[in-house]
């Protein structure tokens, strides 16, 4: 009511009673509350600014690209020296969609100018059919710029990743092939398929391109001299199992991406399962020494020239071989009957256990899947006799390399490997053969090469102290053996401090009538191959290989 009265008064007197007065309120806001609110705002703004800075940071495209999820990506593969063996490169294919061509005739003239070597009768036919077609695969950058500068909508560039192999045939069996869906189908491409698709860094191998080339060159040369069906060679470090070279011939150019169906192209070094003959005598002697049943100077007297075991007879290869021989002489002269006698002294279990220990009886684990499986057999009296001199027992050249590495390196186990490991990843050496066996076997292996009684004189290359054992075996055929041979040499060098094992295998070699042999243990030369044995074939190849690769191995520092 009071208010109403007052209003009335104002209207009557036309008085403006407005005057500024400090408003009074019951709210009592303290200063620290306001400060707190400001503080909260400040904090929010700081957090926001941090967030803003964070959001404003640059993001790397490279980070995205470094995750190899791109279609068709596979990591590169390099050798032990970092040289590319396989490289994934991006390439551009050109396709043409004729329906979108502005002027077909003009387009054809321009294409002829850029790609003069193509068959344009075919191209013209395809253009007139009006269906999309691939015009040119993997074009150069210059041609890409030229073709795109035409500005024709019908030209469709398609970027893709291609795998190229700069060493062509050199590592075909090791690297293997990939299919059109970018999946590995053989070699390391298959066994490391997933890893190669995921890896950022190149996969480094233990192989050496230069040595691989030199070994392959010799195998190719002697393939025409001895007209063999195929050949294989393995060079391995005896101390850590690193494979420096592994060649199987014939091979194929990986860049051609051909489907290999011919069985002659198998990887003989790892997949080929062979009866290797006398190279097994070293194992028989080593097993005897390991068991303490013989020593190198143990004599075997009145050795027969011929033994009968069931229907089969065991003969000496060399009829001039003396009847009384020491263990050392049995190995040097490659005596079959003497080896049988050592085997008989060992008995089945001990010889079998030893062969299992050095890894020649069962399938070996390896970095590629193409690994052969030694043929199983039933042990018996006759089997013991034949196995003692390397017959009736099969294995792969890779397993032979492993076994010779163990025998010569002091008796330590090695796992053959193609993948370069860091030094810390090498496992502690595990001894599987008694100490002192290598010290007894190695000098005998040297004598096989260095003395005239030995069977491997042609591998006696000055300066490299080569030791080794030969093996000549007839190939099996239905119901027995054929005349075709497998000639093998298992070499170790330098024998005073073994570093490398070299296996050379010739599959079905033939004698050569005009090849000139240079004697190593005496002066002079000899024309023509007198016998189709390892001593006259694979040993000669091994000698030539060591002559060529020796300077590289000796002078080029190789770690481990």
């Amino acid at each position: 009511m009071t208010i109403n009265n007052k209003k009335n008064i104002i209207l009557e007197e036309y008085e403006n009673e407005f005057s500024y007065k400090k408003s009074k309120t019951n709210l009592d806001i303290q200063f620290n509350r306001i400060a707190f609110i400001f503080f909260i705002f400040l904090m929010i703004s700081i957090i926001y600014s941090i967030q803003l800075l964070h959001l404003g940071s640059l993001k790397s495209d490279g980070e995205v690209k470094s995750i190899p999820s791109i279609k068709d990506y596979r990591a590169d593969i390099v050798d032990r020296n970092g040289n590319y063996l396989v490289k994934t490169v991006s390439s551009i294919d050109i396709g043409i969609s004729p329906l979108e061509a502005i002027d077909k005739e003009k387009l054809l003239i321009n294409l002829k100018w850029i790609f003069p070597k193509k068959n344009y009768v075919e191209v013209e036919k395809k253009l007139n059919k009006n269906n999309f077609f691939k015009f040119e695969k993997t074009i150069s950058l210059i041609n890409y710029q030229k073709i795109m500068s035409l500005g024709d909508k019908s030209i469709r560039p398609e970027e893709k990743l291609t795998r190229i192999y700069p060493q062509k045939n050199l590592f075909s069996h090791i690297i293997g092939q990939i299919d059109n869906e970018n999946n590995g189908i053989s070699g390391l491409e298959k066994s490391f398929d997933e890893e190669l698709k995921q890896r950022n860094k190149p996969l480094q191998l233990t192989v050496d391109t230069d040595i691989q080339f030199l070994i392959r060159e010799e195998l190719v040369r002697f393939q025409s001299i001895f007209r063999s069906k195929g050949s294989a060679a393995i060079l391995m470090n005896v101390n850590n199992g690193e494979i420096i070279s592994m060649v199987s011939y014939p091979d194929f150019d990986l860049n051609k991406r051909e489907k290999v169906v011919d069985l002659n192209f198998i990887n003989r070094a790892t997949k080929g399962v062979y009866e290797l003959g006398s190279v097994f005598k070293t194992f028989t002697v080593a097993a005897g020494l390991e068991e303490g049943l013989i020593d190198t100077d143990t004599e075997f007297l009145n050795l027969e020239k011929r033994l009968q075991c069931g229907k089969n007879s065991i003969n000496e290869y060399d009829n001039k071989i003396p009847s009384n021989l020491t263990v050392e002489q049995i190995l040097i002269r490659s005596g079959n009957v003497g080896s049988v006698r050592i085997g008989q002294r060992l008995k089945t279990i001990k010889l079998k256990t030893f062969l299992e220990k050095i890894g020649v009886l069962k399938k070996i684990k390896f970095d590629i899947e193409e690994v052969g499986e030694p043929i199983l057999f039933k042990w018996g009296k006759c089997k013991l006799a034949t196995v003692s001199y390397g017959h009736g027992i099969t294995t792969t050249p890779l397993q032979l390399a492993k076994a010779y590495a163990i025998i010569s390196n002091g008796g330590f186990d090695v796992e053959p490997s193609l993948i370069k490991k860091d030094l810390e990843n090498y496992q502690q050496k595990k001894r599987i053969i008694k100490a002192g066996i290598s010290e007894k076997i190695n000098p005998i292996l040297r004598k096989i090469v260095a003395t005239k009684e030995g069977t491997a004189g042609l591998a006696n290359i000055e300066g490299y102290e080569v030791g080794g054992k030969t093996g000549t075996a007839n190939k099996t055929s239905i119901g027995g053996y054929s005349n075709a041979k497998v000639n093998t040499f298992a070499g170790v060098f330098p024998i005073s401090n073994p570093k490398y094992v070299l296996i050379v295998l010739l599959d079905e070699p033939k004698t050569s009538s005009d090849y000139v042999y240079e004697y190593k243990n005496k002066k002079g030369s000899y024309t023509g191959t007198p016998f189709n044995t390892a001593g006259w074939t694979s040993v000669e190849v091994a000698g030539k290989i060591i002559e060529k690769i020796g300077p590289i191995l000796a002078t080029k520092h190789m770690e481990n």
Binding site: M43, I46, S57, Y84, V89, P166, A450, T451
Partner: protein, 102 residues
């Protein structure tokens, strides 16, 4: 006491934001450098591939027969010598010591 705690928190946040800011700047710089290295890396890989191809043993043998047919000769390993520096004296030894282990 409360004011002191609030001030401390404020100072810490401020320092954190400053540090983070400078870290981001460094990160950006690193990224810029990495980005400039990336094409160089790719170029290096291509050049290395070309080098590997041109200096592959197959090519070297081809160049040898093409350009240095008679100039390059094989040296016997036994003729290679090793020079050893021994208290201001130079000692020349055979690189491979002939072992009479026969």
């Amino acid at each position: 006491m409360k004011q002191l705690a609030l001030a401390a928190i404020f100072v810490l946040i401020l320092i954190t934001s400053l540090v983070k800011n400078s870290t981001k700047e460094i990160e950006d710089q690193i990224l810029a450098i990495n980005e400039s290295i990336r094409p160089l890396k790719s170029e290096l890989e291509d050049v290395l591939l070309e080098f590997n191809y041109l200096s592959s043993p197959e090519k070297l043998v081809q160049y040898q027969t093409q350009y240095f047919e008679k100039d390059l000769i094989k040296i016997e390993i036994m003729k290679i010598k090793e020079i050893i520096e021994n208290d201001e004296n130079l000692e020349i030894n055979n690189f491979i010591i002939k072992n009479d282990n026969k």
